[in-house]
Structure formats: structure tokens, C-alpha cells
Symmetry: C2
Subunit: 201 residues, 2 copies
DNA sequence: GGGCTACGATAACATTTGTTATCAAATCAA
DNA sequence: TTGATTTGATAACAAATGTTATCGTAGCCC
């Protein structure tokens, strides 16, 4: 049998995700750092240049931006999902987005620099690049669908779709964040909910 | 000097884009086919499985979908841009989107099969993969920004931004398409325009 | 436990946007 | 050119959504 590292579960998952074998990964595993942080902790602020990618082991996170003092939520992330202010990280420009915990979280991260080290040493392996391509497709399709539903659907329909497709959000995220994610005021989301309750009691 | 192929300008650009040298490209150039088509020609319909990627040499194109009989426009494409129903093409699922010319067009395309042939033969070259990664980032950032502006900005602001960032759309695209692209009715876009005219005469 | 804060529901009113209808101008085809 | 179609503006009204204010509840910190 191959030499077996005793990695934390999260790192083992990351290892598989990147398609790196045990022995190679041993050299890199120390690049991944763990945070244990309370709810409402800011991981990245508007204006900062993102130099970390986050991997959520436990808890949930929202990505939002400031619009004239109003907090508008772009997306929620839960266990085993990867979060970054991807445009800031890629282009090294100031982030438009905040990343903030909603619940107490256990989160791993890696710095851009360390990721590039891995990249340089394993660049000939295509797995990392393919992983990135898959990730980008996934994110792209997510935004296209979400955007499409904004053009096509009423807030009620978007809320129903959210219940169906991502009930975790309904259960774990405060409602005013959900409202801004759906593009309506929290007052209107209340209306939508009571309308839904009347429809299906 | 290297052997010089006498390629049409568009193919020369595609060659560079893919990072393939002249000699190698000679074997592939016949995979790219040219269309000369009138305005309002449908290149891909809802329900079809996309098996082509289009490169616009001349003219413009819109990508739209049907929502209860209403045509909702997702995006416009102009000269030297690449268009596809990317999710359908990648996953080989029925397309949600239509691709349709707005003006008379000269458009090149390559089939998925031929693209894969190139890919297999040049897979060791990373340029194609890097090109894809760059393209995906670009598309992703585009959708994120567009979506963000839907959450943050009024239709008036979105229209002003369009004038500033992509005046070609204003000049070349019929207004009711622009309205659906901005997420408002064509009647309301007229209102927005006259409001703008009053503001800055 | 007491007080504070965050969260969510509801009402009343204001604003924005959609819908339908009509008309005028521009474009296109025969 | 002429007639038909497309495009765009406007008015009048309807529907959707935002805003502000108020209230009650639940959770949380000390």
C-alpha cells in the first residue's frame, strides 16, 4: 500500500480535488491554514485585494457588496464549497465584494502565492488546470441561471425555486439576506411569503 | 522566413487566438467554415443541442430566450467576438437560448467534433486550454458585473452605463431588444430615454 | 432575569414599472 | 412608388415593489 498521510478530512478532499497524490501533497499540505471564527466575521472587505481562496469545512458564508449603504447579497456558500472574490484574486484589483461568515465557521484557506507555488511545481499535471476549468464553467452556469431567473421570474417564483433548489439557504440564512439575494426588499419578501402561505396552506 | 499561408484575416486571428503556428494550423484551417447570412437568421434554436462555436467577422448577433412568448435578450455580440450556447455545447444538453443575427453577418464556425480533433492533436500544447480559461474568466466577470448592475442600479443607470461602455449596442441594436436586455419593457425604456433627454438636453 | 438587539410581520403610502392602446415615423419589400 | 411591417413615442391605467413606521418575538449578553 502507498504511504498513508493522516490528513484532516478537508485536506484529503482538497488533495483529491486537485488530483494530487499523497506523496506529492505532503509537501504542500502545510500551505493550507485553518480558521475557526465566529459568525459575522469579515474575511475580505471591499477595496482589499483578495489573496486567499477559502474552503468551507463547517458553517456558511455570504458574499455581498455595498450599494449606497445597502448590503446586497450576491451568493451564499456552505460546507465543502469554495469561495473567493474571484475577479480580485485573478486580476489583483480591489475587491468589490465582501466575504463574511453567517454562522460560526471552520474554514481553510490557501494564499495566492502558495497556490502559485503548487502550480509551478505541478504545472505539467493538467488536473489542476482542468479543475479550474470545471470550476469556472460551474460558476458561469450558476450566474447565467441566476441572472436568467431575474429576467424571467417574479420574486415569488424565485423564492419557490430557492426553496426547491437550495433549502439550506431558507433554513440557515436570515431572511433579510435572502431578500437582498432575491433582489427585493425584506418587506416585500415577507409579502411574498405570506402570499405563498395563503396559496399552499 | 517561415512558410506563409495565405489565410483569410479571420482565420489568421483564430490561429493566433489558439496559439497554433502556421504549419500546424494548415491542417486545421479547413475545419472552419464561413457563413454569409441575412439579418434575423437563427443560428441556434431553443431545444437544439449546440454543436458549433461561432466567430463573428462582420455584423452582430443576439442571444435570447423565450419566456412565455416574450423574447428576453441575454447579450449582444459584435465583430471579433465568439458566441456559443456554452452550456448546451459543453454539456450537450438542449439549449435554453436562441442565437440570432441582428444585421446581415459574415460568421465563421467550427463544429464540436472538429474542435475536439484539434484538441486531441494539440492537447499537449497548453495554449488552447489557457485560452479557454481566459475566455471563461472573461464571460464570468461579464455576467457578474451585469448581474451586479441589475441588483444595484436603476434602469436609467443601466442605460447610461450601456451608452458609456458599449455604445455600439445603442447604435446598432433595435431599441426593444435593448429594453429586454436591460430588463425593462420597451415602453419603459422610451420613458427612460425621454427622462435622460430632459436631464441632459 | 433584565435589557438590548436582531429579526420578521404588517399597514399605509409613494414610486416604479408593466400593460394596453394609439399614433407617427422609418424601413423594407414588391 | 406604394403598401406592409417594424420600430419607437406617448398617454392612461393597473400591478408590482419600495419606503417608512410600528409592533411583537426570539435570541443573546451581562
Amino acid at each position: 500500500m502507498a504511504f498513508q498521510l493522516d490528513l484532516p478530512l478537508m485536506l484529503e478532499q482538497l488533495r483529491k480535488k486537485f488530483g494530487i497524490n499523497d506523496t506529492q501533497f505532503a509537501a504542500f499540505s502545510s500551505y493550507f491554514k485553518k480558521l475557526e471564527i465566529p459568525a459575522k466575521t469579515t474575511l475580505l472587505e471591499e477595496g482589499e485585494i483578495a489573496n486567499r481562496i477559502f474552503f468551507i469545512e463547517k458553517g456558511c458564508v455570504r458574499v455581498w457588496f455595498n450599494s449606497d449603504g445597502k448590503e446586497l447579497t450576491m451568493q451564499f456558500f456552505f460546507e465543502n464549497e469554495t469561495v473567493a472574490s474571484i475577479e480580485s484574486f485573478k486580476k489583483q484589483v480591489p475587491s468589490l465584494l465582501y466575504i463574511e461568515t453567517i454562522e460560526p465557521c471552520e474554514i481553510w484557506y490557501i494564499s495566492k502565492q502558495d497556490l502559485e507555488t503548487i502550480h509551478q511545481q505541478l504545472g505539467h499535471t493538467l488536473d489542476i488546470r482542468n479543475e479550474l476549468i470545471d470550476y469556472l464553467f460551474e460558476r458561469l452556469f450558476h450566474y447565467m441561471h441566476h441572472f436568467l431567473s431575474f429576467l424571467r421570474d417574479s420574486p415569488l417564483k424565485r423564492y419557490e425555486a430557492l426553496i426547491k433548489d437550495n433549502p439550506m439557504v431558507i433554513r440557515r440564512v436570515p431572511q433579510h439576506y435572502i431578500a437582498s439575494y432575491l433582489g427585493v426588499s425584506s418587506v416585500h419578501l415577507s409579502r411574498v411569503k405570506s402570499e405563498l402561505a395563503r396559496k399552499k396552506p
